[in-house]
Symmetry: C2
Subunit: 392 residues, 2 copies
């Protein structure tokens, strides 16, 4: 294929504003540019597959080593996101189009598969690059120089302060990961916690950790779907689970919160989100987070509407997730060879791309992180201002 | 009609949990109760009209003096709202039902009529009971003992700090009332402001006030619809206008913000809202706020979606509006006789009921007050945390 023709085709499908080096030594879009790196395509078939379905194939080809990025991976992905977002703004894609693309099925058994896929790769893998407490959600950096360890603790405290936990209260957590937040709440705020999670490995880890800390009587870890939650609680909290609930279950999720919350109850939901309805990138959704969906704030309100709840406070922590991911990626790069040994090179490359791509997505405003505080609509025992969150 | 039958009928249409004294001396629902007062119905026809359309007629009959409340007016209305809200929760009204009831028309000429109706009663009327600066929107009380005067200044500062105004910046304000915020921003934050408002009387007042303060060169008041906004601005702000925009214009409103905001632009929209879609009470919508609609947060997101904007922060100030209204009502009661002289008794009673009813609506969580901060989706010059809002 002639170089000029190739450039035209690539421009039509949405070429990133960075040079593309081909297997035969040719370089497309090589004009003097301030690009932070260049894409290398290793064979002709890789290029053709990229032309057919770029959103899906870039990840498959990168994992297979048939597509590479020479230079700053995150910065190149940022440039890509920015160029896509500008095309999108020009094109004014109608929300109905996006809606067509997200007809998921989230039956109970499928939910279990999804979470297995992502979280049961093995605790050892996440231990390579997460913080000591294995918190696999957006951290909160009081200032940008805070370490990842401290920022995950600060995030848990930020959530606990928003929830105004009082000693002796009963808390239910939907989607508890390896249990860090549940144990933090019990240990530092004196509450009793029931924490639900589908992942067998995570629950086993969390139970052991609770025993080690002598918190086994105050924190109960339950291997089960959030839909199995029963009982009556002062506080409902869910950090990084709504992404797995599935849009069509939001109203039922809200009714579940309504059913388990006392009259003076309050809660917090923390979730990756979007400004406009759109699924995760197809490669991420197929290989990394099957079945996951990042809702808009408008879509999230279905939960609260259905639950008879008032939204009191929303904080968008998008840049904090970008910073969290920078830490994860940097740690991951330092153990990359061990990841290759534990799994294989395509697996290790896929996770590098996922962490780098997510960093770029939060930096460019392609993804959001919404932390939503709520209470029953008629509960007037709510904070008068948010001042208390920022006082020492 | 027999007393028992009447009680049954009233219960079916949703009688408030307070005694009802009839013109003939009979008292319905008179069982020992902790009700904060009782409703007095002065004639048989009033009772019949109340049975036919209670949501509309209670206001008409109250204004006409054919229905009265003996005891604490706000507390009785609160009891009413709470009983309605419980019935609603039990009945699980489908949102589609609510949507059917809000097919408004918001043509440009109708908008003008609506605002005239409410805001051009005459400046003198509002001067009777608003604060000195005539701020007719929810105040912000740093603590609940703050005076109304101070709380309106604190609200303006809270908005200005959320907007991170810098000296020399260009600000556009959609719906500026009597100009207090525009002048406050120019005077205390050194910005230049263009402020739009449909009300002839308010604009005339604001222009005079700008002259008196020597701010005529930095604040331009424009008698015009928000849709006439042109130019390019660092900051977009709108306090208490979205209620008049009409749901079907939200996306166009968002595109207008997009068109007039610089790349590093940011903004704030402050609006009365709802948890679930529902129009204002029919009497309020017909007699006090024609054409106005309090959106849910989900409905508000249409503005930001369409404008390519990210929601950064949402604060629900419902209890601050309840407190603001308590101040207004108490001031209003102290000048009630003058309001009767200036207009007539039904007008003065209608406003009393409106202020008392709104107090009850915010206290019971029937209405919300959403303050939403936003920026362009790809703007990373956003605050790292919200800490700066609460530091001195």
């Amino acid at each position: 294929m002639k170089q000029k023709l190739l450039e035209k085709i690539l421009q039509a499908v949405g070429a990133p504003p960075i040079p593309i080096a081909l297997w035969n030594g040719e370089v497309l879009f090589a004009e003097p540019s301030s690009a932070p790196g260049r894409v290398a395509i290793r064979d002709r078939m890789a290029l053709l597959r990229l032309l057919v379905h770029p959103d899906l194939e870039y990840g498959r080809l990168y994992a297979a080593g048939r597509l590479d990025v020479e230079g700053d991976l995150v910065a190149c992905l940022e440039a890509l996101y920015r160029s896509v977002s500008q095309r999108r703004r020009r094109a004014l894609i109608h929300p109905a189009l996006a809606r067509l693309r997200r007809l998921y099925q989230h039956g109970r058994s499928r939910s279990r598969d999804n979470v297995y896929h992502h979280y049961d790769i093995g605790n050892d893998f996440y231990r390579l690059w997460l913080d000591r407490q294995l918190v696999y959600t957006c951290a909160y950096f009081p200032d940008s120089a805070t370490s990842l360890e401290d920022a995950q603790i600060a995030k848990m405290d930020h959530v606990c302060r928003k929830l105004r936990l009082q000693p002796g209260e009963e808390v239910v957590e939907a989607g508890c990961g390896w249990g860090a937040l549940a144990l933090h709440m019990a240990k530092h705020y004196g509450v009793r916690v029931k924490a639900y999670n589908l992942s067998h490995e995570q629950i086993a880890y969390a139970r052991q950790w609770a025993q080690d800390q002598g918190l086994g009587d105050r924190v109960t870890f339950i291997e089960g779907d959030y839909r199995e939650i029963s009982g009556s609680y002062d506080v409902f909290v869910s950090v990084g689970m709504l992404e797995h609930v599935g849009l069509h279950h939001y109203r039922a999720f809200g009714r579940l919160i309504d059913a388990c919350l006392k009259d003076t109850g309050r809660g917090l939901i923390h979730s990756i989100g979007r400004n406009v309805p759109e699924p995760f990138n197809p490669w991420v959704e197929r290989y990394i987070f099957p079945g996951a969906y990042p809702p808009t704030l408008g879509e999230m309100t279905r939960v609260f509407d259905a639950g008879g709840l008032s939204i009191l406070d929303v904080e968008n922590l998008r840049l904090h997730y970008a910073r969290t991911l920078e830490h994860w990626l940097s740690r991951y790069e330092s153990v990359f060879d061990r990841a290759v040994q534990m799994y294989d090179l395509p697996f290790a490359r896929a996770w590098r791309l996922y962490l780098a791509g997510s960093t770029a997505a939060f930096r460019t405003g392609y993804l959001q992180l919404f932390q939503v505080s709520f209470a029953r609509a008629d509960n007037n025992e709510i904070p008068w201002t948010r001042d208390y969150l920022y006082r020492d």
